[in-house]
C-alpha cells in the first residue's frame, strides 16, 4: 500500500512540474508562418531584432507545414481549440475572413493602425464586415511573363495576346503560346479571376451577390476553353499543371507567355538553369472587351490570436514586422513585394527588388482580390470542380457556371451570408 502511495506522489510531482515547466521566466511570444529557405532567414532575423528591442520577451518561431492546405488545417485545429499560441499568425489573404468570422482573431481597430498606406485590395481582404482583422504583410500578384526576344511589346488586349501567342507558336518559335495553372486547385481560381476581370465580370459583386453565371463570366470561361481547344495556343496539359510545371516550360523557352507569380522571376534569371534569362518581362493580364487589366492578388497577412495571453505585445510584433524597414529587408532577401504603397516610390525598394519597380507598380494598380467571405474554401472548391469540367470539355462554360452559381448561392444561404435579395 505504501509503495502505491509513493508512486502516486511521484506521478503527481511529475505532472505538476510538467504543467509548470512552461510558465515562469520571460514572457513568451510565439509566431507561426512559413520558414522555408530565404523566408526563414528573414523571419528569424527580424524576430531576433524584436526580442532585442523588448528585453524580457522571448520570441519563438513555431514552424508550420509549408503547404497552404496543411497549415490551414493546423490553424483551424489550434484556434478552434482556443489555444493561446501562436500569438501571431501568418494568414493567406483568403483565410482572414474565415478566421475573423469564426472569432478566432482579434479586431485590430482598438490598437490604432494607419491603414492609408496599404494597397487597397490587400486591405479589403483584411477586413470582415467593415472591421480590420489583419495587417497586409506582403503581396503576391499574378503576372503575365512575356518574351522580349519574340515580341516588341506586351499585349494591349486579350485578343492581342491570343494573336501574338498563335503567331509565335505557328511560326514554330515556341511549342506553346501561353501557359497557366489549370490543375484542380486554388491556382486555377486565380487564373480564372484574371480572365473574369479582363471581361468585366466577377464571382461576387460588391453587395455579395453571386454573379459568376452572368454573360461576362461565361465569355471569360469560353475564352479559356477556346484557348485550349479551338485556338490551341494553350496546351491541354495545363489542366494538370501547377506553378512549377508552367515555370519549367517557360524556363526552357517553350512558351511565349506564362501566367505566374513573382517568385518565378529570380529563378528565370538564373542563367545556369534558364534559357530565357534577360529575355522576358512582366505585365498585367490584358483587358478584353468591357473589362480591365488584372493581376490576381495573393500574399500574406498578420493577425493576432483571439486567445493570446499578450495581445498588446502580439500587436507590437505585428506592427514591427509590417514596418517599412522590415518590408524592405524582406523584399531584398526573399523578393516578396511590400504591401505599403509609399515604398514603391522609393529608391530603396528599387534596389532591393529583382523585378523592375516600374513594372510592379503597374500591376499593383491592377490587383484584384478573390471574394472575401468566411466560406471561401468551400466556395473555391465548388468553382474549381466546375471550371475544370468546362475546361476539359465535359460541360459547356454556361452550364458549368450556372451549376457553380447555384451551388455557391446555396452555400451562402446555408451559411447565412446570402445577399438579401438572393435568399432562395
Amino acid at each position: 500500500m505504501r509503495s502505491v502511495l509513493r508512486l502516486f506522489a511521484v506521478v503527481a510531482l511529475a505532472w505538476w512540474s510538467a504543467a509548470c515547466g512552461e510558465r515562469g521566466g520571460a514572457t513568451r511570444l510565439t509566431f507561426s508562418g512559413s520558414a522555408l529557405g530565404p523566408e526563414a532567414t528573414v523571419v528569424r532575423r527580424q524576430l531576433a531584432r524584436f526580442a532585442e528591442r523588448y528585453p524580457g520577451v522571448d520570441v519563438e518561431l513555431r514552424v508550420t507545414p509549408d503547404a497552404a492546405d496543411q497549415r490551414h488545417q493546423l490553424y483551424v485545429q489550434w484556434l478552434n481549440a482556443r489555444a493561446p499560441e501562436p500569438d501571431v499568425l501568418q494568414l493567406d489573404v483568403i483565410w482572414t475572413a474565415e478566421f475573423a468570422g469564426a472569432g478566432w482573431i482579434l479586431p485590430l481597430e482598438p490598437f490604432g493602425l494607419d491603414a492609408d498606406d496599404f494597397i487597397p485590395a490587400a486591405l479589403a481582404a483584411s477586413r470582415w464586415r467593415g472591421t480590420l482583422y489583419a495587417v497586409p504583410w506582403f503581396v503576391d500578384l499574378g503576372l503575365l511573363y512575356w518574351r522580349t526576344d519574340l515580341l516588341d511589346a506586351p499585349p494591349r488586349s486579350l485578343s492581342d495576346l491570343g494573336d501574338a501567342a498563335r503567331r509565335v507558336q505557328s511560326a514554330g518559335r515556341t511549342r506553346f503560346g501561353l501557359v497557366w495553372q489549370g490543375a484542380r486547385y486554388e491556382g486555377l481560381v486565380t487564373v480564372f479571376v484574371e480572365h473574369l476581370s479582363a471581361f468585366g465580370g466577377g464571382i461576387l459583386d460588391a453587395a455579395g451577390r453571386v454573379i459568376v453565371d452572368e454573360p461576362p463570366a461565361v465569355r471569360a470561361l469560353t475564352f479559356m476553353r477556346d484557348a485550349i481547344g479551338r485556338d490551341g495556343f494553350v496546351p491541354s496539359s495545363v489542366l494538370t499543371w501547377r506553378e512549377e510545371q508552367a515555370r519549367f516550360v517557360f524556363q526552357n523557352g517553350d512558351a511565349a507567355f506564362m501566367r505566374n507569380w513573382p517568385y518565378a522571376w529570380a529563378l528565370l534569371q538564373d542563367r545556369s538553369r534558364s534559357r530565357v534569362a534577360n529575355r522576358f518581362a512582366v505585365a498585367p493580364f490584358p483587358a478584353g472587351e468591357g473589362g480591365r487589366p488584372a493581376a490576381a492578388l495573393g500574399g500574406a497577412q498578420l493577425a493576432v490570436n483571439a486567445w493570446s495571453a499578450n495581445p498588446t505585445l502580439a500587436w507590437e510584433l505585428v506592427r514591427f514586422l509590417t514596418a517599412p524597414e522590415q518590408m524592405l529587408e524582406r523584399a531584398r532577401l526573399a523578393a516578396q513585394l511590400p504591401s505599403r504603397r509609399s515604398l514603391y516610390a522609393t529608391d530603396a525598394l528599387a534596389e532591393a527588388l529583382p523585378i523592375p519597380v516600374a513594372q510592379v507598380r503597374q500591376m499593383i494598380d491592377a490587383a484584384v482580390a478573390r471574394p472575401v467571405t468566411p466560406v471561401y474554401s468551400e466556395l473555391s472548391e465548388m468553382l474549381q470542380v466546375r471550371l475544370h469540367r468546362a475546361l476539359s470539355g465535359q460541360q459547356t462554360p454556361a452550364a458549368a457556371l450556372r451549376e457553380a452559381a447555384r451551388e455557391i448561392r446555396a452555400l451562402l444561404a446555408r451559411s447565412g451570408l446570402a445577399a438579401e435579395d438572393q435568399t432562395p
Binding site: 488545417q73 483551424v76 485545429q77 478552434n80 468570422g101 469564426a102 472569432g103 468566411p374 466560406v375 451559411s415
Partner: protein, 303 residues
C-alpha cells in the same frame, strides 16, 4: 438474530452504495452523459466556423442530410462490409490458432508469447508496420509479387480503391486474431477431455469429433468472441486513419473516420454528431440483435 441479520443487510446495502458510487459517477459522467449530449447535438445545426448562425434546433435535418450524402452512404457500406468480411476470417484463424495452442506439446509459452505480442502492440504501430510492408517501393510484400509477375511494375496498393483494403484487412486480422484465439482457448480448456476419449473409443474420426463435440461446446465462446470482434470492427478507426487516411479519395473511409473528419476538420459539430450517433446506433443495434438471437445464455447469465 433476525433483527441483527436485517441490520447487517441494511448496513451492507449502505456500504455497497458508497463502494459503487465513484465508479458509477465516472461511468455516467464520462460516457452516458456525453452520449446523450451527442444525441442532442445531432439535432442541432452547429458549425463552429459560422458562429453567427448560432445553434438552432433542426430536428432530424442532419440525419436527413446524411441519407442523401454519398460519402456517408459509402462509409456505411465500407464499415459493414469490412466487419462482415474480416470477423469470420479472424474467427476461423483464431480457432486454428487456439487449437494449435491447445494441442501443442512443446513451445506453448513461445506460442502464447507470439500470440500476445500482436494483440498488445498499439494499433497504430501495427498499421504503420503493415503500411511499410505493403509499400510500393520498400515493401517486402510487393517485391515477390513483382518477381512472379503477379503485379505490374507501377502497382501501388494504396492507389487502387479496392486493393487499398488489403493492407487494412491484413493489419486488422494480424492484430486481433490472437485475441480471438485466447478467448477460444479458454473455451477449449473447459471441454472435458473424457468426451473426446469416449468418442474415440466409439471410432469417431478427428473431423467428426471436432464437429460433434468441440464446435457445439465452443459455441458460447465463439459467440462472445464474435460479438467482441464485430463491435470493434464496426467502429474501425485507427487502422484506416493510419494506413490510408481513407484514401484513395474516400474509397477506404469507414464511418468513424468520416465522422472524425466532419467534426475535427470541417468543424460541423451538428452533422458530425449525427454521424457519430449512427456509429453508436450501428454497434448498439448489432449488440441487441446478437444478444437477443444467440447470446443470452452465453453473455446474459454470466453477467
Amino acid at each position: 438474530m433476525i433483527r441483527q441479520a436485517r441490520a447487517i443487510e441494511r448496513e451492507e446495502r449502505r456500504l455497497a452504495r458508497w463502494l459503487v458510487a465513484p465508479a458509477l459517477v465516472f461511468i455516467l459522467l464520462g460516457s452516458f452523459v456525453p452520449i446523450a449530449a451527442t444525441g442532442w447535438e445531432a439535432l442541432h445545426g452547429h458549425d463552429l466556423r459560422l458562429p453567427w448562425l448560432g445553434r438552432p434546433f433542426v430536428g432530424l435535418a442532419n440525419f436527413v442530410e446524411a441519407t442523401g450524402d454519398l460519402r456517408f452512404r459509402s462509409a456505411l457500406l465500407h464499415t459493414v462490409t469490412f466487419a462482415v468480411i474480416t470477423v469470420p476470417l479472424e474467427l476461423a484463424l483464431g480457432l486454428a490458432l487456439a487449437l494449435i495452442m491447445h494441442t501443442a506439446v512443446h513451445g506453448r509459452a513461445l506460442i502464447r508469447l507470439a500470440a500476445l505480442l500482436p494483440w498488445a502492440v498499439p494499433t497504430v504501430v501495427a498499421a504503420l508496420v503493415w503500411r511499410f510492408m505493403f509499400d510500393a517501393q520498400a515493401g517486402i510484400i510487393s517485391a515477390p509479387l513483382l518477381t512472379f509477375g503477379a503485379v505490374g511494375e507501377s502497382f501501388d496498393w494504396f492507389v487502387h480503391p479496392l486493393a487499398a483494403w488489403v493492407p487494412i484487412g491484413a493489419a486488422d486480422i494480424w492484430k486481433t486474431t490472437p485475441f480471438v484465439a485466447i478467448l477460444l482457448l479458454a473455451g477449449l480448456q473447459t471441454i472435458d477431455p473424457a468426451l473426446h476419449e469416449a468418442a474415440r473409443m466409439d471410432g469417431a474420426r478427428a473431423v467428426r469429433r471436432f464437429a460433434t463435440i468441440t464446435l457445439p461446446l465452443l459455441r458460447p465462446a465463439l459467440i462472445v468472441a464474435a460479438a467482441f470482434r464485430m463491435l470493434d470492427a464496426l467502429r474501425l478507426f485507427d487502422v484506416a486513419y493510419v494506413l490510408t487516411g481513407g484514401g484513395p479519395g474516400t474509397a477506404t473511409e469507414p464511418l468513424s473516420l468520416y465522422a472524425f473528419i466532419a467534426l475535427m476538420q470541417h468543424l460541423r459539430f451538428g452533422y458530425g454528431s449525427a454521424l457519430s450517433v449512427t456509429v453508436f446506433l450501428l454497434t448498439f443495434g448489432f449488440a441487441l440483435i446478437w444478444v437477443r438471437a444467440l447470446g443470452r445464455p452465453a453473455v446474459g447469465d454470466r453477467m
